[in-house]
Point group: none
Amino acid sequence: MQSRTPAPRATGRPRSATADAAILAATREALVELGWSKLTLGDVAARAGVAKTTLYRRWAGKNELVVDAVAELFDELELPDCGTLAADIEGVVLQYAAILARPEAKSGLMSVVAESIHDEALRERIRCSIVERQKRLVLEGRARAEARGELPPESDPGEAARTIDLIFDMVAGTVVHRTLVSAQPADEEWVRGFARVLLLGLTSAGPR
Amino acid sequence: MQSRTPAPRATGRPRSATADAAILAATREALVELGWSKLTLGDVAARAGVAKTTLYRRWAGKNELVVDAVAELFDELELPDCGTLAADIEGVVLQYAAILARPEAKSGLMSVVAESIHDEALRERIRCSIVERQKRLVLEGRARAEARGELPPESDPGEAARTIDLIFDMVAGTVVHRTLVSAQPADEEWVRGFARVLLLGLTSAGPR
Amino acid sequence: MQSRTPAPRATGRPRSATADAAILAATREALVELGWSKLTLGDVAARAGVAKTTLYRRWAGKNELVVDAVAELFDELELPDCGTLAADIEGVVLQYAAILARPEAKSGLMSVVAESIHDEALRERIRCSIVERQKRLVLEGRARAEARGELPPESDPGEAARTIDLIFDMVAGTVVHRTLVSAQPADEEWVRGFARVLLLGLTSAGPR
Amino acid sequence: MQSRTPAPRATGRPRSATADAAILAATREALVELGWSKLTLGDVAARAGVAKTTLYRRWAGKNELVVDAVAELFDELELPDCGTLAADIEGVVLQYAAILARPEAKSGLMSVVAESIHDEALRERIRCSIVERQKRLVLEGRARAEARGELPPESDPGEAARTIDLIFDMVAGTVVHRTLVSAQPADEEWVRGFARVLLLGLTSAGPR
DNA sequence: AAGTAACCGAGACGGTACGTCACGTCTTTCG
DNA sequence: CGAAAGACGTGACGTACCGTCTCGGTTACTT
């Protein structure tokens, strides 16, 4: 969320801090009820009990607002130490699936990603606010696995980065596709199956 | 795609066949230039050299139109027999990636999927027009692999279906995420790495 | 309605005669229900059980159609010989009022007259089809009154024409205004009062 | 005219006062050029240099707008004291004729009256904004004539009202019919003739 | 009896205007 | 001086009719 306000002015009446929270909450609420395309800033302002101008003073448009509203959802992501790599993978997949099961995350995330295709600034904002926050978990997981000796330490840093990215795309992408496109629940059983395939693929020794 | 027209009437002036093609092409063109949110049906009609009413006579709205326009892109999907399962997997992933590299596919697909979250009918339309068409490739690939003896024949049909779905979600989801969210190209090298992990995960013997 | 058809061809299938009547009747019906501005030719065609093209083959547009539909109403105008000038005037005013009491006449007549202000051809059509048909009654009435000796024979033909026109404007205009603008019924009592004033004004000797 | 605005709010940006005048002027201009049926609110808005929405915020539709635009024309009506009843009648008829000679009055007035046949609210609006404003002149004229002794004071108030209404329908109706239906100018000579008949009819003693 | 020309219904077509909605900006008054 | 309220210009929406056109099929005159 970190500072939409370009410069913290000293003078005049300060901006209401509660308004921010109310607006983001109202945005998520509207996202659930209406979806991205039918969500209007006027409606969000009304739900938040705030004038439209107040909203425009803080965000540049619908996309920016929704990114911030959705990003807050990912603040709760955390990687519990389950003891084994397999369990850790299952854990993170389940957490990610839990967030994506919430309709405000589905509508919001997909829509802003779609919009970001034609908007570089938006893409950057998404990466900072949402994507990197998730990738952190993958990094942590790998570090733990290496510490436990489940994975060999990767000497080539470039290769390491590529692997991280691949894992991340596989985890996030597969869960999203299961949830949104196939419209099937990413429940525990499914997660176990997916995690098994993922783990095998990553740990099986094989020629490059 | 097949038949938006609910009933093929016998009487009256028949619908112009060329108009359909022009409209869908114009839709893809506009999708590339403007993206989903800035695409307007009036603009599409103008590009297609067609009246707005003609467009509304055939499609219920923006979403339906875009689904059909994007679905045509997937008609060219085909599974070349590359001789080995590994090569086949690489082949299909590459083909899918090639389609998703086109901006009209990116914008269009993501946006309608996002919209489909709040629209059951749209979700169904997407499944019929786009998803099933892709899943067919996975089925074919599996059948070939079994015929070659690369994969053991699956006796439990329920388990087989689950595996197919998982593979499909992994392939499509990962490619989409790589291409759209991570905004990195799904080039040949990446595809090789991904296919290797996927193949190892699927073929490694292991306890369920 | 004297020849909408520009040239009566000899060959081919002749136009359905019943269609004309059905269309004009449907027009009057629609005029009653909807009024001029909400009346659509498509709706009239549907009511008449006729294709829109059939309608356009016979009339150039809404105005022309309505003029013909309304003109038929005035065919029934007739001047009964009531024995005295006073009674004759009352009679013709009552007849005119009776026609104007019908809503299809009100909407239709006023609207086409309003349209005729910007359409010379339409004005001419109205004059031929409707106005002259009414003026005939005034002429007849005057002739009878002269024959009875109630009015002195007018020697100056120009002056005679001017008087006829004035009477006609007074009768038709006053009845229309009473009925449409004041929205009061032109009942027998009111007609008696109006006819008395009119008769006194016309017969009182006085310097020009 | 007086206040289309249902409630004069205190808060928010007030409505532009100049916009109202510009819109009504533009309406009259368009009425002259196009007539009622070809007049579009979009065109009026463009002429007035105003957004279409601004127009719809103030008026419910074309009819209401035209009534107000035409009503302003009748604000200038005034009864000059010409000294005699005959001169006063001539004066008011001439004034009314002068207004009706303006094409915006012709098209506008006739059309809204025609529309009012199917719209009670519109009829009421016309009565308030236009008709009553004219009837006032008749009342004034009668009062003056009585004061001068030209007309006997009417004891029965019901009969007085009926006479006023009759005179009003005769004056307004006849002038309208002359101007619009007969499409002849209501010039001074014609007015003199008409006023003479009217005066004789009203003042000649006669049995009821 | 066959040919054929004009009719008929149905309905798609390119248009124009509709009246509404949301946008993002602006001008007010109030706290 | 910020915030609410709400009017403003802009532009797309989806709909309704317009008047024209293409169909397949039907009549009634002509030969």
